[in-house]
């Protein structure tokens, strides 16, 4: 295991989520789930982050934001779509201002299903993201 596996720092962005998945992402940080056990820090800053967790779907306005955040993350980096909306647009896929899942915009590495995604699922997603991160680092090295 390299240092990446032990220190995955995350950035969370709320695309156009209903807050359900957002608060579950936050709940992962709190005592009952405590993802800091895996070295996770919620950085809030793309420049510090290794894993981008996106909740909610893509719409006209956040395409640009998602792109900026993704670009500002230094390599290697991984994108995790959290929740049905981020994976596919979910129940809002047919709403007029929703373009669909975030894989419309960013290369998504891990899909976490659920409405709302449960903390356990999010932890699974982060663990899987760590593996992808590791693969990407090896590929780059």
């Amino acid at each position: 295991m390299s240092f990446f596996a032990r220190s995955p720092w995350i950035l969370h962005y709320d695309g156009s989520s209903c807050n359900g998945c957002d608060i579950e992402v936050l709940a992962c940080l709190t005592p009952l789930y405590d993802v800091e056990r895996f070295g996770v820090i919620n950085t809030g800053n793309p420049k510090h982050a290794d894993i981008l967790l996106v909740t909610g779907s893509v719409n006209e306005r956040n395409v640009e934001i998602l792109g900026n955040l993704y670009r500002q993350m230094p390599d290697p980096k991984v994108v995790v779509a959290v929740g049905a909306c981020a994976c596919s647009g979910g129940i809002f896929a047919r709403a007029y201002n929703v373009q669909g899942g975030i894989d419309q915009v960013l290369p998504v590495d891990v899909y976490v299903p659920g409405c709302a995604a449960r903390p356990e699922s999010i932890i699974d997603g982060v663990v899987q993201a760590i593996a992808v991160l590791e693969r990407k680092r090896e590929a780059a090295a």
């Binding site: 156009s16 209903c18 359900g20 201002n97």
Partner: protein, 365 residues
């Protein structure tokens, strides 16, 4: 005269949801603030065109993942009113219990976020730790932690057995005992007072003029609570419980925090009294079968954790509603927030933004 421009949001760790504030600062005093929202607008009111009224409730309860229960309940109440459906007593009481549980959950969540906004990480952790107890109750009784999907037009889908209700009351009593300590922290911690007292003061007159609702209005000394005034969501149940809204006078960030602290305590008590009062027994009806299609319109208000929510529904006798309009409490509180941000310090901005308990996804739908 040169000033600092701070682009706060759409991605900013202090803001749980995308919200844009262009802050213009001198030193760290905000001399101007230009807000923008619109990053979460999905257009779900227009989904009435494509989702039948029976399933539209699932869309409405996803307006917001924090007050999801009340959104589902409000939609069902509106449709029940249009269709003239009488909801069984037990279901009405169950809805009240869940609604108050949701309020506790929402307030604990918010108290945590608020604590994090003024840099009190442990308090955030602790509030969210307490909140998990509510989520467990919800998952056990409705099948979902966040999105409960337990309302349906005509009643509720699941009953809570009487022993389970008693267990919930006992669990809440335990929560309340633990929460007393946390409440004391909010009330007496000097560092919290330093950050919140006399910050973002909204006088009662301004709160009224700007249309503030919910804890935001109540913290400014306005006795405004839809549970009391409209009675739409309870049909007199709250009066039966001797409900009296929590009101604070100072109108500052601290008052807004304390209103919610006291409402947590109040809701725990309301659940206890409701369980005491509700009709008991096995196999009581919890739903009235609904037939036909809705026709007509209604205007319904009820009290969410963040304040008064308004549903306007117009149906035209088809399986698709003609118009659904949800005016959420945050929508009503944003004008007041914008007013408060000007003139405060940069470090106060998160507190002021958060003490309206913003739910942008509610606001933008």
């Amino acid at each position: 005269m040169k000033r600092t421009v701070v682009p706060m949001g759409p991605q900013h760790p202090v803001l749980p949801e995308p919200l844009v504030l262009d802050l213009i600062l001198e030193d760290e005093r905000v001399v101007d603030a230009v807000p923008t929202i619109g990053y979460i607008h999905r257009g779900l009111e227009a989904m009435v065109e494509r989702v039948e009224y029976t399933e539209m409730g699932f869309v409405v309860e996803r307006i917001c993942g924090i007050c999801s229960f009340q959104h589902g309940m409000g939609y069902c109440l509106a449709l029940e009113r249009i269709m003239g459906v009488e909801v069984p007593d037990r279901a009405r009481w169950l809805r009240l219990v869940w609604a108050e549980l949701a309020r506790i959950q929402s307030h604990l969540l918010w108290l945590g976020l608020g604590a994090d906004a003024f840099g009190f990480e442990h308090l955030f952790m602790h509030c969210w730790r307490m909140r998990e107890r509510l989520l467990d109750i919800f998952e056990a009784t409705t099948g979902g932690r966040i999105i409960h999907s337990v309302n349906r037009i005509g009643g509720v889908k699941r009953d809570i057995a009487d022993p389970e209700l008693a267990a919930i009351v006992a669990s809440l009593r335990e929560l309340g005992e633990g929460f007393a300590e946390t409440a004391r922290v909010f009330r007496t911690d000097p560092s919290i007072h330093h950050r919140l007292a006399r910050v973002g003061v909204l006088p009662a007159a301004d709160a009224h003029a700007l249309g503030a609702v919910g804890p935001m209005a109540r913290a400014s000394g306005i006795r405004l609570d839809t549970r009391l005034d409209a009675g739409a969501d309870s049909g007199g149940l709250y009066e039966a419980l001797g409900f009296e809204p929590v009101v604070e006078q100072d109108g500052d960030c601290l008052a807004r925090v304390l209103v919610r602290v006291r409402e947590v305590e109040q809701s725990i008590e309301l659940v206890r009294r409701a369980v005491e009062r509700m009709p008991k027994g096995e196999g009581l009806p919890i739903e009235t079968k609904v037939r036909g299609v809705p026709d007509g319109e209604t205007f319904l208000r009820l009290e969410q954790p963040r304040g008064e929510v308004v549903y306007f529904v117009r149906a035209n006798g088809s399986r698709f509603l003609e118009r659904l309009r949800v005016r959420t409490p945050t929508f009503a509180n944003i004008p007041a927030m914008i007013r408060l941000v000007k003139g405060c310090d940069l470090a106060d901005v998160p507190n002021i933004v958060l003490t309206i308990d913003p739910c942008i996804s509610c606001t933008e739908r």
